[in-house]
């Protein structure tokens, strides 16, 4: 049974989840800077950005380990360990995808980004950042929900999850358009392969953000006991 009055007795892992989400968000901004730099004609700072992403990734990993290694025994948590770890795993996958995408960007330094795709590509990056930003907002609002168990707060979290799905859907379309353009504009096969793979990896960032949203949806689901139990 959920009793708001006793919520202060429970240990909430959400502060640390939020910390992790903030790191992911910060990392996404550096990723965006790196991509913008790569797309620009001259980019000297790309390696700096890469290092910055690596640094943020290892900081996020440390937070992840801290959450996994310090789940308090004996105190009641608002969600089960299992759900929490699943969520954390998915949130961490966002970061892994960002790192993957950055690696793919780096593989194509010699190839460059065709002029005709630049605008759409930057738009895709910009759109991908949004669900990552929403993630940390979702965790912050979920923390508030688990403090109060108010329906209103739950609806706010649900709305963010809904937005995440919508964004992912839009990004899928953008991804398809870009892939189509890459195939149809007559670029050399290596460039096409690079662009398609890069676009897919970037798209997977939004997929993991959406999955994280789904995990959160399960966490905030109302548990009803069977009538005859």
């Amino acid at each position: 049974m959920r009793i708001p009055f006793f919520s202060f007795l429970m240990t909430s892992p959400f502060d640390e989840l939020l910390e992790h989400a903030e790191k992911v968000r910060e990392c996404s901004w550096v990723f965006q800077q790196a991509v913008e730099c790569h797309v620009a004609d001259k980019c000297d700072a790309f390696e700096d950005y890469r290092k910055e992403v690596d640094k943020l990734e290892s900081e996020a990993d440390a937070i992840k380990r801290r959450i996994r290694g310090h789940i308090p025994m004996g105190t009641k948590m608002p969600v089960s360990d299992f759900q929490l770890f699943l969520y954390l795993k998915e949130q961490d996958k966002v970061l892994d995808s960002v790192e993957d995408a950055l690696n793919w960007v780096s593989y194509g330094i010699g190839l460059g980004m065709p002029e005709a795709l630049k605008k759409d590509f930057l738009l895709l990056i910009d759109s991908v950042i949004e669900p990552i930003e929403e993630l940390s907002r979702m965790v912050a609002e979920a923390k508030k929900y688990f403090d109060s168990y108010s329906d209103k707060q739950r609806n706010i979290v649900k709305k963010i999850i809904h937005n995440l799905r919508q964004r992912e859907h839009e990004i899928d379309h953008m991804e398809d358009r870009l892939k189509f353009k890459a195939f149809s504009m007559g670029f050399d096969p290596i460039s096409v392969f690079h662009i398609v793979r890069l676009v897919e990896t970037i798209g997977s960032i939004a997929d993991h953000a959406e999955n994280a949203g789904d995990m959160m949806r399960a966490m905030i689901a109302r548990r009803r006991k069977p009538f005859f139990s």
């Binding site: 901004w29 800077q33 913008e36 700096d48 950042i129 706010i156």
Partner: protein, 751 residues
């Protein structure tokens, strides 16, 4: 166990809670001066106050008349009726005092108990009159109206007198000693010490002698009739003693005076105010014991309560121990003390209270009066006064902990002397008064006289004083009303009502604990933002960076919520964000004040850097103003039930939101971590925001022309966009300034 015995047990339990809430509120009376002046480390002050309280408790016997017969005539009541009155009084007292403690407002426990007794007694009397089908004029038989009126008028007079004498004595003392009082104190310190300690000693005698078991009635009478003998001989002894101390030692005589005054006031508080907390339950116990001797306890009349009853010393000591423990651990007590100390603080800074029309009128009136008086004075006299009363002759002196005292030792000693003198005089004249009101008004009078309420703070301080005084009237009114309502409920519903009201009181206290905790956390956050006086320039710059970083993050979060709430037309969330506006504005003010402090700390060669720093203040102001405008407008729009944003507008604003929050967050992170500033990214976001603005502006014009978007909706849309652009522009400026100053300072320090 019979129902009345159970009620008496509840009364005793309530007494414990009442002691806790009562001490939390009244501790300010004797802690204000030593804590405000930081005369000694906190634990020393607390030990002295605790000893004073324990001494006072032993003098407290025989002071319980107010509860038993001070307000009503007990012979007209039966035991169950009295128990009803006492239960209503105690429950009201706990709720009321806890409310005042939560908001850090000092009030009088005497006034609250008197009005609660009055309210409950009037309610029960009226019920009795109604049931007996008697005339309303019979009420005067039940209520001791003469005494009640004397108490009320005595208290009101003491408030005016305390303020007047506080201001006058402080003015005269400052004329003699000036703000730089070290030298004059060497010269006239003996005389001052003599006056101070003779008054304080007389105060202790007159307040303590009444109940002291070791003094014979003849000795008490002698003390009462030989005021001047005590004062003059005390003056001579102490003047000689202090002059010798000044001549042969390096002891600052103001310190023992203040600590002695603290002891005296703590003693007087315990001796006199203990009745406010345990007087009523003890009277309840007496009533029950007396009734047990009668044939039918429920029909026993209470004439016997008119006879003097000696209090149990053991019970008094238990009460004293609870008071001492509360004094040490109560956080609400600190909040109450903080209010009084902050209102009397000599220097400027962030003010707890805002401005109000009444306070502005009062300040303007007083200023014009001062101007008029200044014109009337001869110029020579004016020059002498202004030379001697110039607070700038000495700066704030940091205490051992590095924190600065709110006012100096001289003011603290005047506070204690005047408060002791006013209370002693009123007691010797048998005038009832409230120690809280007297000490508060004396503290305000002395701070007024000391020019602590300068043009930068007067309006806020006057609002604070008016709030506290307003709270006193509120105390009387609410105490009377709630006690009478509770008495009626208990009278008719009997025992279930008692249980219900006890639970209600418990719930209210629990709720207020949470409210207080939250407020405390908020205040702590704000307090940590202010720069300490002992930081160096490098640390000050570092702190300014960090604070601005946190500030921008907070702006980003609230802007994010504001957009989101506007999209979903969530009025409640907009209201929550609106409630954060004040905090943000205060925060911006604190950062600006810290930047001024940083300017002060920077060397003269750093003028260029200094100049750039002053620009940050404008940027911060503009950011907080745009932030405020955006939130207020969005809230008002939806509060007035205007139509929500169109779907296409939401899509556009979502992009604006992403750009502005990204920009704010990134700048915040950069300032917080002082990492290499990637100005291009911020610049790109700003650029993007402008491009979006231009594009969406055109779209919106089309929507207006197509009559898709109504006027109010268009205004809302533009407010969001314009304010976002303004915030973005100023954030960029801010980053420019910090980037330059950071590089500049690094070069300077070789970092």
């Amino acid at each position: 166990m019979d129902i009345y015995l159970f009620s008496v047990v509840i009364l005793i339990g309530l007494a414990v809670f009442d002691l806790i809430v009562g001490v939390s509120n009244d501790a300010v009376n004797f802690l204000n001066s030593p804590i405000g002046s930081r005369v000694a480390p906190r634990h020393v002050i607390m030990i002295i106050a605790s000893l004073g309280m324990l001494a006072g408790v032993t003098f407290s016997s025989g002071m319980m008349e107010v509860a038993r017969k001070g307000i009503f005539h007990p012979q007209f009541f039966l035991m169950p009726e009295l128990v009803t009155i006492f239960l209503a009084v105690m429950l009201t007292d706990i709720i009321l005092l806890d409310f005042f403690n939560t908001f850090g407002l000092p009030t009088s426990t005497t006034v609250s108990i008197v009005f609660e007794l009055l309210g409950a007694a009037v309610a029960v009397s009226l019920i009795k009159i109604y049931m007996a089908d008697e005339s309303l004029s019979m009420l005067v038989n039940y209520i001791n109206t003469g005494k009640a009126l004397a108490i009320i008028s005595g208290i009101l007079i003491s408030v005016v007198m305390a303020f007047f004498f506080g201001a006058l004595i402080m003015f005269l003392t400052r004329l003699v000693f000036t703000f730089d009082y070290a030298k004059p104190l060497k010269r006239y310190g003996g005389l001052w010490g003599g006056v101070a300690l003779s008054v304080i000693t007389y105060f202790m005698l007159i307040k303590g002698a009444k109940g002291a078991s070791f003094l014979t009635p003849e000795a008490v009478l002698w003390i009462k009739t030989h005021t001047w003998t005590i004062l003059s001989s005390g003056f001579m002894v102490f003047a000689i003693l202090f002059q010798l101390i000044l001549l042969f030692t390096r002891i600052n005589i103001l310190k023992p005076i203040i600590l002695m005054g603290t002891f005296a006031l703590a003693m007087a508080f315990a001796a006199n105010d203990l009745v406010n907390f345990i007087g009523v339950p003890m009277a309840g116990m007496n009533a029950y014991t007396i009734a047990q001797g009668a044939g039918d306890p429920s029909m026993a009349t209470m004439e016997a309560l008119q006879e003097p009853i000696q209090s149990n010393t053991f019970l008094l000591l238990i009460a004293g121990t609870i008071m001492v423990v509360t004094l040490w651990i109560s956080r609400k007590s600190r909040t109450v003390s903080k209010t009084e100390v902050t209102l009397a603080r000599q220097d400027e800074g962030s003010e707890r209270f805002g401005s109000s029309p009444l306070s502005r009128v009062i300040v303007r009136m007083v200023y014009s009066q001062f101007d008029f008086t200044r014109k009337m004075l001869p110029s020579g006299l004016k020059r002498i006064i202004s030379n001697r009363l110039d607070p700038k002759t000495t700066g704030p002196v940091p205490s051992v902990s590095g924190a600065t005292a709110s006012f100096d030792l001289l003011r603290a000693s005047v506070n204690l002397i005047v408060a002791s003198a006013v209370v002693s005089f009123a007691t010797s004249m048998k005038l009832p008064l409230s120690t809280t009101y007297v000490t508060f008004m004396v503290a305000m009078g002395t701070s007024l006289s000391d020019q602590a309420w300068g043009s930068e703070s007067a309006v806020y301080r006057v609002t604070g004083v008016l709030t506290v005084i307003g709270g006193w009237f509120f105390t009387a009114l609410v105490a009377f009303t709630i006690a009478s309502v509770f008495a009626c409920i208990i009278y008719f519903v009997k025992f279930p009502a008692v249980l219900g009201l006890v639970l209600l009181a418990g719930a209210i206290i629990f709720k207020s604990y949470r409210v207080h905790f939250k407020r405390e956390e908020k205040d702590k956050d704000m307090a940590t933002l202010s720069l300490r006086n002992d930081v160096d320039a490098e640390t000050a710059i570092k702190i300014s960076f960090e604070q601005t970083g946190h500030f921008l993050k907070e702006i980003s979060d609230t802007v994010d919520v504001c957009f989101d709430a506007a999209f979903s037309e969530d009025r409640q969330r907009l209201k929550n964000v609106k409630n954060e506006i004040d905090k943000i504005q205060k925060w911006a003010d604190i950062i600006a004040a810290n930047i001024f402090k940083t300017l002060f700390l920077l060397n003269k060669e750093d003028v260029e850097e200094t100049q750039t720093y002053s620009h940050t203040i404008r940027a911060l102001r503009d950011i907080s103003e745009s932030h405020r405008d955006m939130i207020m407008h969005a809230y008002e729009h939806f509060d007035n039930n205007h139509t929500g944003l169109l779907e296409v507008q939401k899509q556009e604003l979502r992009q604006i939101k992403a750009a502005i929050t990204r920009l704010l967050r990134n700048t915040g992170i950069m300032l917080l971590q002082r990492k290499k500033v990637d100005f291009d990214y911020i610049s790109n976001q700003d650029q993007k925001l402008r491009q979006l603005f231009d594009a969406f502006d055109k779209n919106q014009i089309k929507r207006i022309q197509n009559a898709q978007s109504k006027t109010r909706l268009s205004i809302l849309f533009y407010r969001f966009m314009e304010n976002s652009v303004k915030i973005s522009q100023q954030t960029r400026n801010l980053l420019d300034i910090f980037r330059e100053s950071f590089t500049h300072h690094k070069n300077h320090t070789g970092g």
